[in-house]
């Protein structure tokens, strides 16, 4: 049993010895000379982020330590800098039993792979060295490009309205860029780019910042209803970004009622019928369906249409309708109003015709006949009594 105890003690001592040889740092730290310390040895960042690492150098000896600072290991392409008190430093002195802070500044490159990156910081004092490993996890795939995006790329309105979009242009390159703004709109469309209320054609964006851009899109007034995609583009050298803005045009309903000659007056004899040609123009941007014709005419007048309804009328097209107006036989001579109205479910238009009623000249001829009869009677008297 005592042999066994001895054996265990021996092994423990051997373990301590081996540990001391294998891990010289631990004894160095333990020896209490200089020591590097940070609270956050492992952090997660995104590409393009600036990191300002606060690190403390602890002097646990009883003498002043002059320590050379060195970044022993760093990922390729990362720029690093050690600062303290406003200077870039490579040496630091610490009073006995005290500590001093310095900063490790670095920037995560924009174009960086996702993964873990390691830094090793070494502080070499007189007779003692301390190293500090730092792990930085890049959580996203880094890019090196320009982004153009809109929170609300789809809008709806009629052909007369203007569409306002807010775009964000992000410059994720290392340099300041001057972007030319352009829109590949179809003919007739009007696209304006505005920055702080001013119309612009190009915009300057500093590296790794974003710029708000307003886009105003005015469609042509005679455009048909439908969806339209307007590609907008920001280009600076080889960097470019593109996004599509969607404009949903709802149709407008407009209709004009008139005659081919533009004349809105006619003459007709009392009790007679007359045909007038009407023209209906679709001046809106949507198809008009089921155009009905109606009238307001004086009492006992007859107004009929041929055809009575128009099933469909495409935009910018016109249709002709024959309207037959028959006046009342009792209509007095002079002017009457006959109102004609064309209407669909959406829109209506009307035209007032001035109809001049004329009395038939028939009774005039009867009168002349009477006078002729009387004159013939006088002539008969002349013949009978005059030339005897």
């Amino acid at each position: 049993m005592p042999q066994r105890w001895q054996k265990t003690a021996f092994f423990f001592m051997l373990l301590c010895l081996i540990g001391g040889i294998l891990f010289p740092v631990v004894p160095a730290l333990a020896s209490g000379k200089v020591m590097l310390f940070t609270e956050y040895p492992g952090i997660a960042v995104t590409p393009g982020e600036s990191i300002n690492y606060s690190i403390r150098l602890i002097n646990s000896s009883n003498s002043i330590q002059h320590v050379a600072l060195q970044i022993a290991e760093q990922p390729e392409g990362w720029e690093t800098n050690l600062t303290a008190g406003g200077w870039s430093i490579n040496q630091l002195s610490v009073r006995p039993q005290s500590e001093e802070s310095f900063n490790l500044q670095t920037e995560v490159p924009l174009q960086v792979e996702k993964g873990s990156y390691h830094f090793v910081l070494r502080a070499s004092g007189s007779g003692s060295t301390s190293t500090l490993p730092i792990t930085i996890d890049v959580t996203q795939q880094g890019t090196f490009k320009t982004e153009l995006e809109s929170d609300q790329p789809n809008m709806q309105g009629n052909a007369d309205s203007a569409f306002n979009y807010d775009l964000t242009l992000k410059n994720r390159t290392a340099d300041e860029q001057l972007y030319a703004l352009s829109a590949a709109a179809p003919r007739g469309w009007n696209v304006d780019f505005l920055v702080s209320g001013q119309k612009v054609t190009s915009v300057k964006v500093e590296a790794n910042t974003a710029q708000k851009i307003s886009v105003t899109i005015a469609p042509p007034s005679e455009i048909e209803a439908g969806n339209y995609l307007i590609p907008v583009k920001a280009q600076a050298g080889s960097f470019s970004a593109e996004t599509e803005l969607e404009v949903n045009i709802t149709g407008t309903y407009r209709m004009e009622l008139g005659t081919p000659t533009g004349r809105l007056s006619t003459e007709l004899n009392a009790g007679r019928e007359k045909m007038i040609e009407l023209q209906i123009n679709n001046t809106g941007s949507s198809e008009l369906e089921k155009i009905k014709l109606s009238n307001t005419a004086p009492v006992d007048w007859e107004v009929r249409f041929e055809p009575g309804t128009i099933d469909s009328l495409l935009p910018a097209e016109s249709a002709t309708v024959n309207v037959y107006i028959k006046s009342s036989g009792k209509a007095i001579s002079g002017d009457y109003v006959v109102g004609i109205k064309a209407q669909t479910a959406e829109v209506a238009d009307n035209a007032d015709f001035r109809v001049t009623v004329k009395t038939s000249a028939l009774w005039g001829w009867v009168g002349i006949l009477l006078i002729a009869l009387v004159a013939a009677g006088i002539y008969y008297l002349f013949r009978k009594f005059g030339r005897q």
Binding site: T296, V299, G334, Y336, V337, T359, A361, G367, I378, F382
Partner: protein
């Protein structure tokens, strides 16, 4: 002055050229016309008509400003000269309707009986001319004088109208004034024929003149009173049917139209006020959707065509009666 004026007016009627080529009928017409023009009667009538013209012109012009303002849409400003009044004196058309018969009666009441009483009628009949030349020539000469007088008055109205308003008449207004003057001549012609008829019928010129004036007075004063009495007695007590009312209204209007002055005033008012569209009653059906606007001249003429026909026919018929009376009359020489 008066003599010079007579000479001048007389020259207008004197035919140019050698007298032997003149047709005997026209020689008689010319002689009758010269007799009229050289008479004091004509000068008095002309003076009377000039007075009427000036009076109605002044009353029209003083009210013209208001008349223009109240209807700007259909401003037949010129025609207002004939119809407008400020209330102190009747307008021109009313004057003509009232005093036109006087001209006709004055020019015709002694046409035949004065010749007869002077004994010149038998002498005329002894000439180698047809007997009816006498009455025809007398009628034509008097009608020429009337036409001449009316045209003078009309031109005077138009001329002073242009002077005072500064607005020239439109062609339509000129035509309307022309037709108005024509109707006036026909209207006065009716009364002329009536007067000639009385002059044949009555031997005494005074009787003939009085008869003419009596007829004139009857139509201008008593006729409407008689019509009113008839209306009061025959009007339907209770109106049950609108058509009944309309036909009754038409009956009353036709009764009124027996009077030539009613025919004349209807015809001339319609011609000179183009916005008048109908002379009868208008039903609501007819008035619906109607726009107030002037009628074209042709339509105005068609509207008053019956009145015109009636006036012309009346003139013809009365002339025919006088003609038959004259041709059948015995003429004895008095010498």
């Amino acid at each position: 002055m008066v003599v010079v004026l007579r000479e001048k007016i007389g020259n207008l009627f004197r035919r140019q050229g050698p007298p032997e080529t003149q047709h005997p009928f026209w020689a008689m017409v010319q002689k009758e016309a010269m007799d009229h023009i050289n008479s004091w009667r004509f000068m008095i009538l002309l003076g009377l008509m000039l007075l009427i013209t000036v009076a109605s012109l002044s009353t029209a012009i003083s009210s013209l400003q208001g008349a223009i303002a109240e209807d700007t849409a259909t401003s037949f400003v010129f025609l207002k000269l004939f119809t407008a009044t400020d209330g102190s004196l009747p307008p021109f058309i009313t004057f003509i309707s009232l005093l036109g018969p006087i001209i006709g009666i004055a020019l015709g009441f002694d046409a035949i009986n004065s010749e007869r009483s002077r004994g010149t009628l038998s002498r005329l009949l002894a000439q180698p001319i047809p007997r009816d030349y006498i009455i025809n020539a007398k009628f034509v000469a008097a009608l020429l004088i009337i036409a001449f007088m009316m045209m003078i008055l009309g031109l005077l109205m138009v001329g002073s109208g242009i002077l005072t308003t500064g607005i020239p008449p439109t062609p339509e207004e000129v035509w309307r004034v022309f037709f108005f003057l024509l109707i006036s001549i026909v209207y006065i012609g009716v009364w002329l024929n009536l007067a000639i008829m009385f002059s044949i019928k009555f031997k005494q010129a005074a009787t003939s003149a009085l008869s003419g004036l009596a007829v004139w007075l009857f139509f201008s004063l008593f006729f409407t009173m008689i019509i009113n009495i008839i209306v009061e007695s025959t009007a339907p007590a209770q109106v049950t049917d609108i058509n009944e009312l309309i036909s009754y209204q038409g009956f009353v209007q036709n009764l009124l139209r027996i009077s030539p002055s009613q025919l004349f005033s209807e015809a001339t008012t319609t011609l000179l006020v183009p916005t008048i569209r109908t002379l009868g009653p208008i039903t609501m059906e007819q008035a619906s959707y109607a726009i107030a606007g002037p009628l074209p001249l042709g339509q105005s003429l068609l509207l008053v065509w019956p009145q015109l026909i009636c006036l012309v026919a009346a003139a013809f018929i009365i002339f025919g009666i006088s003609y038959v009376l004259f041709m059948k009359q015995e003429v004895r020489s008095r010498s």
